[in-house]
Amino acid sequence: MSSNVVELKNVTKRYDAIVAVDRVNLTLNSGEIFGLLGPNGSGKSTTLKMLLGLVHPDEGLVTVLGMPVQQDPVALKRMVGYVPEAPRLYEFLTGIEYLDFIGDVYGMQPEDKRNRINEYLKALQLEGREGDMINSYSEGMKQKIALISAFLHKPKLLIMDEPLNGLDPRSARIVKDFLQELKRQGVTTILSTHVLEIAQAMCDRIGIMYHGKLQALGNMNELREMSKLPDSGLEDIFLKLTGTGDVRPVVEELLK
């Protein structure tokens, strides 16, 4: 049994003629925050879904928390927290009903469930609105509920697609600090985002996907070396490594 939390070996996924993920190899360790970046349609979401067993690779092997994802998907899902990009919630439930549903689905003890729900609601300033139907929530409030439902059952692996979407600055800060604390407790987080500042500030290592391939992988210093941009931030590195850097002609065309 592997000690790595996540292991992708030569993983390929095709949708008809389109190769969404192309022979990706990746290993993540316990207590690591990993940023998965890439332009739209580069294969990030497909890769995240493969880690949760929601999408099957056509080739290669995906191992999560020491077991192949298809071996016991139910047991695996119990140990993973997932926030998809633009999560759709059951809007006819109230916030607290939704979280209670999630707690039951993950088999939490009633006392533990109640305490944790109340703590999260308080921390993310949802107190007072928890009894309202979700369809009356703003996008940011829905995102908070989606985040709480990913944290609630104390997962060992967090898979998050744009987790800070729509959050107010205070809540975003709380989530970022909370993820750092979870890291110290050994929880591994995979983070996909287009906000490169967040990735640069939070992630131990970053993978940049482009056209389904893992174009670059490493910490900030390693990425700077790869891109030959020694003093640059992640934005310049990203644009250079994905070959999408020269944006000036586009802007000039728009200004005509």
């Binding site: 879904k49 949760l52 067993g53 929601l54 999408v55 099957h56 298809q70 998907p73 139910v74 047991a75 899902k77 119990r78 993973v80 997932y82 998809p84 999560p87 759709r88 919630l89 059951y90 809007e91 006819f92 439930l93 109230t94 607290i96 009903e97 209670d100 549903f101 999630i102 039951d104 689905v105 993950y106 088999g107 009633p110 469930k113 109640r114 109340n118 609105r129 928890e130 009894g131 309202d132 139907m133 009356s136």
Partner: protein, 556 residues
């Protein structure tokens, strides 16, 4: 008023209406022929029928003495048309609004565009008229004008056509007013009823839908429709103080030579139309962007217990899923209609039969109706609910995919829910049926067992098909099941139902032909039970396999 804006808004509403009805729009610009096909067909049919009836009329009644006897009959029919058009236009435009109420795709007022509320209100009223109300007016109008040309009633026919248009516009304006008022009223009810709002909404929606469908079926089907037309033609003038018959009365006076009265009612009708339009505009200006307040269901700590479901052998996750589905079906308007369908289908004919029940010579008919009351609604509930219970998850289905649900747990929870509601509907309708029709014990016994068998078996059949054909798309409206799987389910349930009821056929015939009985009904019920058990077991297994496949290929 910028008429171009009105025309653009009407075309947008028209396209969104077609999307809501499930049509696919593949081209930005369509040919006018395709877009107006139904209007063209109605116009052609109207002209052809009007021509044949008009020429036959003019030839048959060429003698003025004979013709003068029939002309009042024709005229009284024409006078009743505007009111009839108004009533069914109200029904159909409200129906269109109900269809829209469940959709996810917002038809939000584009308030950020340079469009006035007057333009928006007019476009909304005109768009409401599109479809059946306008198509029928085109058909009837073309028919009566052509007929009138040959029958010497050209001017009354033209006036009637114009009055019908006015009636449809009035009906549509009334629906527009009702729509905005209802939205505001619902908001006020939510606010004042506090935590009970969710149940007020459920009960209110049930009552509204029941009343609406009862009226709908009364107006559209059966002897009610004919009686209705006769009543309008004969009583219209005596209720002159009701604004909605003014167009009909106007026609009566104008075509009878009472011009002063005719113009008075024309003026009143125009005032009514203008009044409704301006009231609708004012309401839209005031509440057009109003959003009902949030429904607060719970306060503070919320901790339901597994309770009874736990004692029945359900795990916490299975019980949570059942509780979630229960809330979905009592809070989502598009799902509430699933409960109403079986009740309305059986209640409307039941009420019609109510007066005849117990009459001499209707024993067999009573027994047939009683049998249907026992078997039909519960079976329909099992069939429709089982078919939709997976697809109703909609886009939030990712939660099921990502959560630790096994296929077995998923099917167990969903199957329990479908069976439970099938049995609840059975309990309600069979009690009503047994009381109304005064059924003998043997018939009650047989009916009750057969209904329960049908519920268990058809729930499994429809759940298996519902999982296989689940459609999680929610735009422009929740689909829940793919059309082909809905049809497959219908056929499978019909065949399954027939197989379960087959042993009872000799018993049913024996109630009509005494002495025909070849099989004791209790034995027949036993055989039915075995057949139902086999069907339920096989399809429950198929449902688990389909659920495994669904979870395995979640997003592929």
């Amino acid at each position: 008023m910028n008429w171009k804006n009105v025309a653009f808004l009407v075309s947008v509403e028209r396209k969104s209406g077609r999307l809501i009805r499930g049509q696919r729009l593949t081209k930005y610009r369509e040919s006018r022929l395709t877009a107006n096909l139904f209007y063209i067909i109605a116009l052609t049919l109207g002209i052809v029928i009007g021509f044949f009836v008009g020429t036959a009329y003019s030839q048959s009644f060429s003698d003025p003495a004979v013709s003068s006897q029939f002309q009042p009959l024709v005229l009284s029919f024409l006078w009743s048309l505007p009111t009839i058009v108004m009533i069914y236009s109200v029904v159909f435009t409200m129906f269109a609004q109900i269809q829209r109420s469940g959709i996810k795709a917002s038809s939000q007022v584009p308030f950020w565009l340079p469009i006035t509320w007057q333009e928006h209100t007019l476009a909304s009223i005109l768009a409401n008229m599109l479809g059946f109300p306008l198509i029928s007016i085109v058909g009837i109008g073309a028919g009566i004008v052509t007929f009138g040309f040959f029958a010497g009633l050209f001017i009354p026919a033209v006036l009637t056509s114009l009055a019908m248009l006015g009636a449809a516009f009035t009906a549509s304006a009334l629906t527009e007013v009702f729509r905005v008022l209802q939205m505001r009223f619902v908001g006020a009810v939510y606010k004042s009823s506090g935590r009970a709002a969710v149940w007020v909404r459920f009960a209110g929606s049930l009552i509204f839908f029941l009343l609406f469908y009862a009226v709908y079926f009364f107006v559209i089907y059966g002897t009610g429709a004919l009686t209705f037309i006769q009543n309008i033609a004969s009583t219209q003038n005596s209720v002159w103080f009701v604004p909605f018959v003014w167009l009909g009365i106007m026609l009566y006076y104008l075509t009878s030579g009472f011009l002063l009265e005719g113009f008075l009612f024309l003026g009143l009708s125009l005032l009514l139309i203008a009044g409704l339009f301006f009231f609708g505009t004012w309401l839209n200006k005031r509440f057009g962007l109003y959003e009902p307040p949030a429904i607060t269901v719970t306060h503070g700590v919320y901790a339901p217990k597994t309770g009874l479901l736990g004692k029945l052998g359900f795990s916490t996750s299975e019980a949570a899923l059942i509780r979630k589905d229960l809330k979905a079906f009592t809070r989502r308007r598009e799902l509430m209609t699933i409960f109403i369908g079986p009740i309305v289908i059986i209640l409307v004919p039941l009420f019609q039969q109510f007066g005849q029940a117990g009459e001499a010579g209707s024993v067999q008919l009573n027994l047939l109706w009683a049998g249907l009351t026992f078997l039909f609604p519960a079976s329909i509930m099992a069939m429709s609910l089982g078919n939709l219970i997976m697809g109703e998850e909609g886009q939030a289905v990712w939660r099921i995919y990502a959560a630790p649900f096994s296929a077995r747990s998923l099917v167990k929870s969903k199957y329990f829910f479908v069976v439970l509601f099938g049995l609840i509907i059975f309990a309600i309708t069979s009690t009503l049926g047994a009381i109304i029709y005064g059924m003998p014990f043997r018939a009650v016994f047989v009916g009750a067992f057969e209904a329960v068998f049908l519920v268990f078996a058809l729930s499994a059949v429809s759940l298996a098909n519902g999982i296989k054909g689940a459609d999680f798309n929610e735009l422009p409206r929740p689909r829940m099941i793919r059309v082909e799987w809905s049809l497959i389910n219908l056929i499978a349930c019909a065949l399954g139902g027939l197989a379960i009821l087959a042993p009872l056929i000799p018993y049913a015939i024996s109630t009509i032909i005494p002495g025909f009985n070849v099989l004791d009904p209790y034995i027949a019920v036993g055989i039915s039970g075995v057949v139902a058990a086999i069907i339920a077991f096989v399809f429950y297994r198929i449902a688990i396999n389909n659920a495994e496949e669904l979870l395995r290929n979640a997003e592929s």
